[in-house]
Amino acid sequence: MDVKQTNLQKSFPGQVHETPGGGIVLSKLDDVINWARSNSLWPLTFATSCCGIEMMSVAAAKYDFSRFGFEVARASPRQADVIIIAGTIVNKMGPVLKRLYDQMGDPKYVIAMGACAISGGPFFYNTYSVVKGADHVIPVDVYVAGCPPRPEALLHALISLQEKIKMGLTREQIKSGI
């Protein structure tokens, strides 16, 4: 599903009416809240293996993600909005991931980066310790394919997540009825 095809407000949502002495903006409160939330998502630093290096490259100067609002990568889950699962999840790490997700404050979003987080990746067959997909543990909003995905692919995923939030279609928003 391509989120761009439906109605999307790229700039501040609302209609501006010019009246003498200023102007009035009419909008829905939900739209304004979604716009504000999507433009300042702070990721949690959660990198288990090789995809973590591509995530660090996206944070560095060439493919900068702080121009999209992901300014600071917080280390504590209490202060983060989005968790980017970069790397393989194994049986021993599953409860840790669930605990981190539970500690994050609402509203929270999840991106599964790389083939290992989507479905187990190259470690699908004949391994006794790999969880075959991070969505066996926590609900995921955006999947990014690649092993490891290029930094541009991760940027596309982050922008898709922003558009999904503005549309009101992430799992969090569907579940809570917004």
Partner: protein, 152 residues
């Protein structure tokens, strides 16, 4: 020292050892009971001085297990391989933690993957596998896991 000289010197120290010279390094096969004394001699002897243990592993041959130790000397730069055969149902051998300290974590890994009991080890418990995997020994050839392991 070359392989021939090492063989002569080691035969003096441990006459019961057998040899296998098919690879590039001298392979010595010892009994598990004589391993701790022999290991101390390998470490301390004047012209051997094997003070660097660089690989410690185990191979499952289905009827028995075989422990493999790769040793090298930082002074003379020669390498040897020491092997020891253990029984498949109750494998146990003495630890070499007091001689080479790197063996502490390496032996814990062999314990959880193959089930080998190391006598006199200071702290033998699971290292890499999660809790509840004691006794499962996944690297053995008779490890059964019908969900994950596919036999082609």
């Amino acid at each position: 020292m070359g392989n021939e000289d090492l063989k002569i010197l080691i035969t003096e120290l441990l006459p019961a050892a057998t040899y296998d010279e098919s690879g590039e390094w001298l392979n010595i096969v010892v009994e598990p009971a004589s391993w701790p004394a022999f290991a101390a001699q390998l470490r301390n002897h004047e012209s051997l001085q094997f003070d660097y243990l660089f690989c410690l592993t185990c191979i499952d041959w289905k009827t028995n297990l075989s422990m493999v130790y790769h040793l090298s000397s930082t002074r003379y730069r020669h390498n040897i391989v020491v092997k020891s055969t253990l029984s498949a149902d109750q494998p146990q051998i003495n630890t070499v933690y007091d001689i080479w300290k790197t063996a502490e974590l390496l032996e814990r890994e062999v314990y959880e993957m193959f089930g080998v009991n190391f006598l006199n080890h200071p702290d033998l418990r699971l290292l890499i596998l999660p809790d509840g995997w004691e006794g499962k020994n996944p690297m053995r050839k008779n490890y059964e896991d019908p969900i994950n392991m596919i036999k082609l």
